[in-house]
């Protein structure tokens, strides 16, 4: 198969008029050495972004007839990456440089996320019952629980489903931030040894959710966090719900603020001119942000 490569350079900062739309359908990101890897599902490709220059190299991913899921990326140290496919049933491994599919594995149970756990692969399980491990690590004898994060109970099947949506963000050599999409503004830092610590983070959503209605069980929750990026200097949080309206309601405002938390204190709040989708990179000088309009821009932080 002939694979084409495209090269482009990101602007140093986003512009309000016509930002370049580099990502079709965001599927996840991972940071690996000097590159940010962004999974694009439409068209399916991997964008390799140089962390220093922000030059982008786009590599189409091989087509195999199975739809990839926007459930994150696990970057391996050998230049390959794993993504979920077929509604979390399958794990596909690709070369990040050629886009070639190297391996397809059927998982023992469907998953809602995939992430790198340092030198191992981790998945986030789908749970119907409370008290079951949500983060699993891939080992020689199959998947086994990793971290004390377990599934939560719900008042009904819909609440159970919404209440157990879990994401993990970008971590450091010491810890990985994970959070429930629905619930209090709290991020769990999962450490290499599997232990966990909780970090309270700023929220722009109400402290308490409204009563869930029969027509919208999702309104019975608040959704404070959209993304988390841990760097040696602290934890960056991208807000999600802002104000009373949950993200799916008409007129909802979301993801307009970034917050920096260090040693349990909020050190900085940054306002964004438009809705953001993810934090692609963070260092003491700047953040690289993917916006919901599919453009990428930088935000100076000092």
């Amino acid at each position: 198969m002939i694979l084409s490569l495209a090269l482009c350079v990101l602007p140093a900062a986003s512009t309000a008029d016509e930002p370049p739309r580099l990502v079709g359908e965001f599927g996840g990101r991972a940071v690996s050495g000097s590159y940010i890897l962004v999974l694009d599902l439409a068209p399916r490709a991997i964008h390799l972004i140089d962390r220093r220059t922000l030059r982008v190299r786009t590599t189409p991913l091989a087509r195999d007839g199975v739809r990839l899921d926007p459930y994150g990326i696990a970057a391996h140290g050998d230049g390959t990456l794993s993504v979920l496919a077929d509604k979390g049933r399958v794990l596909s491994r690709f070369s990040a440089t050629t886009g070639e599919r190297i391996e397809t594995r059927k998982l023992p149970e469907p998953s809602q996320g995939v992430t790198g756990l340092w030198n191992r692969l981790g998945v986030i399980a789908i749970r119907l019952r409370a008290g079951e491990p949500l983060v699993l690590e891939d080992g020689a004898e199959g998947f086994r629980p990793f971290s004390p994060i377990v599934s939560r109970s719900g008042a009904n099947p819909a609440a159970q489903l919404i209440g157990n949506l879990l994401r993990c963000g970008s971590g450091t050599g010491d810890a990985l931030p994970c959070w429930f999409l629905a619930g209090p503004p709290d991020v769990t830092l999962v450490h290499r040894d599997g232990s966990a610590t909780h970090v309270a983070v700023p929220s722009f959503a109400p402290a308490r959710a409204r009563a869930a209605s029969r027509s919208d069980p999702g309104a019975g929750f608040v959704y404070p966090v959209r993304d988390a990026f841990l760097e040696p200097g602290g934890l960056w949080i991208l807000s999600n719900q802002e104000g009373d309206r949950t993200p799916l309601e008409d007129g909802a405002v979301r993801a307009r603020h970034l917050a920096h938390v260090r040693e349990g204190r909020v050190r900085r709040i940054v306002s964004l001119a438009r809705e953001a989708r993810a934090i692609l990179d963070a260092n003491p000088a700047r953040l690289v942000i993917l916006y919901s309009d599919r453009s990428i821009g930088t935000v100076a932080v000092r």
Binding site: D69, P157, S215, A219, L248
Partner: protein, 73 residues
């Protein structure tokens, strides 16, 4: 995970949807994922064989997870 139990008996699936307050609710934009889930379960319960209902029920759940992660994430 114990997904098959959500779709085993023909009657269980719509009962589950009703118990969750889903099937009888009027569709609104904010609840489209859950409404879709409920309708999917009801449709799954109409399938003839238990294994078809089971497979369809699992698909419904995974579709709902995908929809909700996309919506709220």
């Amino acid at each position: 995970m114990n997904l098959p139990r959500i779709a085993s008996p023909r009657t269980l699936v719509p009962v589950l949807a009703l118990a969750a307050g889903l099937a009888a609710a009027a569709p609104v934009q904010g609840a489209s994922c859950v409404q879709g889930y409920a309708q999917c379960l009801v449709d799954a319960s109409d399938l003839a064989a238990w294994w078809q209902r089971t497979a369809a029920g699992i698909d419904c759940y995974l579709d709902a997870v995908a929809c909700l992660k996309g919506a709220y994430g």
